[in-house]
């Protein structure tokens, strides 16, 4: 008599008792990932040198690599990963669809299309210049998807997921069309379109910090209402949740967070999809825990993928967007099986 939706609270009882150790574990794993991200790369740096470079007065090539290149890269990774993780959790809560993510809502494709058009029309050449085009493209696509999903004043979750997917496909084909028409655009855009944390100075991060923080605050504020929303619109409304307003606020949070992330790092898929699915079995589906949990799990996934991309084909490296897609595709297949059951 009832359908299933992404859940609230796992089966084993003492979730509350496990909360603190799990949080500590999460922070520990994240610290480890950050440390690896600082130490590993084309040139491995001993951890002692990393510590010296960060807190002491180390000089030399290794120290310069750590503080000048890998520190910004790691910080950008933390911010982007956290944004994508939280955006994924909110997107799945708002749509009541465990397969929803910033990617399926058309956000990455919107950013990609906007950037490719900007490169083609304005002759841009550096990722720093792409930021606002990417952000605008992401937010524009998201709100177009919302418009498609609008029905009698409210957003229909199924239409949102469907509309977003269709929009994504359309935008991807337009992006390809522009790139095929102009070889220069293809050359400039292809690395950005893969999604990468490399060569992103901290200056790239500063402009999007306000949108990141605002998005996070909204996400945390709507978390309790998302728990009630999981019971279906009727039940949520009967519990006093302003369903339409909460869904819009959630969508705004997703647009701000994922828009900022794609503006900084380019389109990175699967992190937003995977983070909530990693956290839910551990902490349960209560969004008040899920959102902070994804704030930790997102960067863990992103940094791990980034580090992996740096070491697999040393001395060259694989873009993090490619690694995460490579690892994320099997996860999606697994998930689809679970959902279908």
């Amino acid at each position: 008599m009832s359908e299933s939706a992404p859940g609230v609270t796992a089966s084993s009882p003492p979730v509350s008792a496990r909360r603190i150790p799990l949080l500590a574990l999460g922070v520990g794993v994240l610290t480890l990932c950050a440390a690896l991200s600082l130490a590993l790369g084309a040139r491995a740096v001993p951890l002692s040198t990393v510590v010296d470079a960060l807190f002491g007065d180390a000089h030399g090539r290794d120290a310069l690599v750590v503080s000048g290149l890998r520190l910004p890269r790691t910080l950008v990774g933390l911010a982007v990963g956290g944004a994508l993780g939280v955006a994924g959790a909110v997107a799945q809560g708002v749509t009541r669809n465990p397969l929803a993510s910033p990617t399926t809502l058309g956000i990455n494709a919107g950013a990609g299309f906007a950037v490719v058009v900007a490169i083609y029309a304005l002759g841009l050449t550096r990722p720093v210049e792409y930021i606002w085009f990417a952000f605008a493209g992401a937010v524009g696509a998201m709100f177009f998807a919302l418009t498609l999903a609008r029905r009698s004043g409210d957003i229909d979750p199924v239409r949102l997921a469907l509309g977003g997917t269709v929009l994504q496909l359309v935008l991807l084909s337009w992006t390809s069309a522009v790139m095929l028409a102009s070889e220069r655009t293809l050359d400039e855009a292809r690395f950005w379109l893969a999604g990468s944390l490399s060569e992103r100075p901290l200056d790239v991060l500063y402009p999007v910090l306000p949108t990141l923080v605002l998005g996070l605050v909204i996400a945390l504020a709507v978390a309790p209402a998302l728990n009630a929303l999981a019971l279906g619109d009727d039940s949520a409304q009967a519990l006093g949740v302003p369903v339409a307003r909460i869904r819009l606020a959630g969508a705004v949070a997703v647009a701000l967070l994922a828009g900022s992330a794609v503006a900084v790092a380019g389109p990175i898929a699967f992190i937003g999809l995977a983070a909530p699915h990693l956290v839910r079995p551990l902490l349960g589906g209560d969004h008040r825990l899920l959102v902070p949990g994804c704030l930790i799990a997102g960067p863990i996934l992103l940094l791990a993928a980034d580090v992996l991309g740096r070491v697999v084909i040393r001395p060259s490296e694989l873009e993090v967007g490619i690694v995460s897609a490579f690892l994320g595709a099997p996860l999606l297949a697994l998930l689809a099986r679970k959902v279908a059951r």
Partner: protein, 291 residues
């Protein structure tokens, strides 16, 4: 306490809710209510009073608008015309949370979040009583404990709802509505998909809530016999209009059933309770006389 509204019409027999001001009778009423889906008129110009402190059953044939009416009574559906009032106040003018503290709903097909435990589900019933950043209070916990106990789901509290039987699951959902701690409880076909034993379990529970906790209950039911047995007040709808309303013994007779359901029947006293019991005539008898 906060009630300053004058009640236009009072049902003299309706007992006021405990500890509430004089105007809080939990009486729902509609005035010239028009309900539409798109251009299709489902309910037209309905004037109705649902007495506070009573168990009301809304019955009628399929597509008569009874579930639609319940959606309008709980503000899930915005009327195309007319008003729905609780104690004389238009429910569309009440803040969502304030209304949710007065009125709970068990929808016909609620969505069970994956792997949610019974207790976590019931705790969500406290949503309208909570504020952002306010911690879980003793009153919240007490309401959850009492809801679990009343519905006999205390032993199931750690179990995932999606692993329960249909009857247990329905009781867990009723517990959620109870934890909401409202004077009014509205249920949309709470017995559908349940076997007889569990149907009776749910209806007995509803009767108990009314008798012991003084809740006002409004439910949409399919079975006329059950409606007559468990309700103090019967609302019979046909084609979105009121066919009859009143005590089951007063309104439920053979003429009404023929007129509303197009079925020839005898209405006899229920041998167990004395309430009206609808017994359809045999096929042969039904096919012969009516032209």
């Amino acid at each position: 306490m906060t009630s300053k509204q004058l009640v236009p019409r009072q049902d003299a027999t309706a007992p006021a809710a405990e500890g509430a001001g004089a105007a809080r009778t939990d009486q729902l009423s509609t005035h010239g209510l028009d309900l539409r889906y798109g251009d299709r008129v489902v309910v037209g110009g309905l004037d109705l009073v649902l007495p506070g402190g009573a168990v009301t059953a809304i019955v009628g044939p399929n597509a008569c608008g009874k579930s639609t009416l319940l959606r309008a009574l709980t503000r899930l559906l915005t009327p195309a015309g007319g008003t729905v009032a609780l104690d004389g106040t238009d429910i569309h003018r009440m803040p969502a949370r304030a209304l949710a503290r007065r009125m709970g709903l068990l929808p016909q097909q609620p969505v069970t979040p994956e792997a949610i435990t019974v207790e976590a589900l019931v705790r969500l019933g406290r949503y309208p009583h909570q504020r952002l950043l306010s911690p879980w209070s003793k009153a919240d916990q007490a309401a959850v404990e009492s809801a679990l106990e009343r519905t006999g789901t205390t032993a199931l509290r750690e179990l995932p709802v999606d692993q329960l039987s249909g009857g247990q699951r329905q009781r867990a959902w009723i517990a959620l509505a109870l934890a909401q701690d409202t004077d009014l409880l509205l249920l949309d076909e709470p017995t559908t998909f349940l076997d007889l034993r569990h149907q009776l379990d749910v209806l007995d529970l509803v009767a108990e809530l009314h008798a012991e906790a003084g809740r006002t209950v409004v439910m949409v039911l399919h079975d006329l016999g059950q409606a007559a047995r468990y309700a103090d007040h019967l609302v019979v709808l046909k084609d979105g209009a009121l066919a009859a309303a009143g005590a089951p013994a007063d309104v439920l007779d053979a003429d009404l059933v023929r007129e509303v359901f197009d079925v020839d029947c005898r209405v006899i006293p229920d041998p167990e309770t004395g309430t009206p019991l609808v017994v359809p005539k045999t096929r042969a008898a039904r096919q012969k006389p009516s032209a």
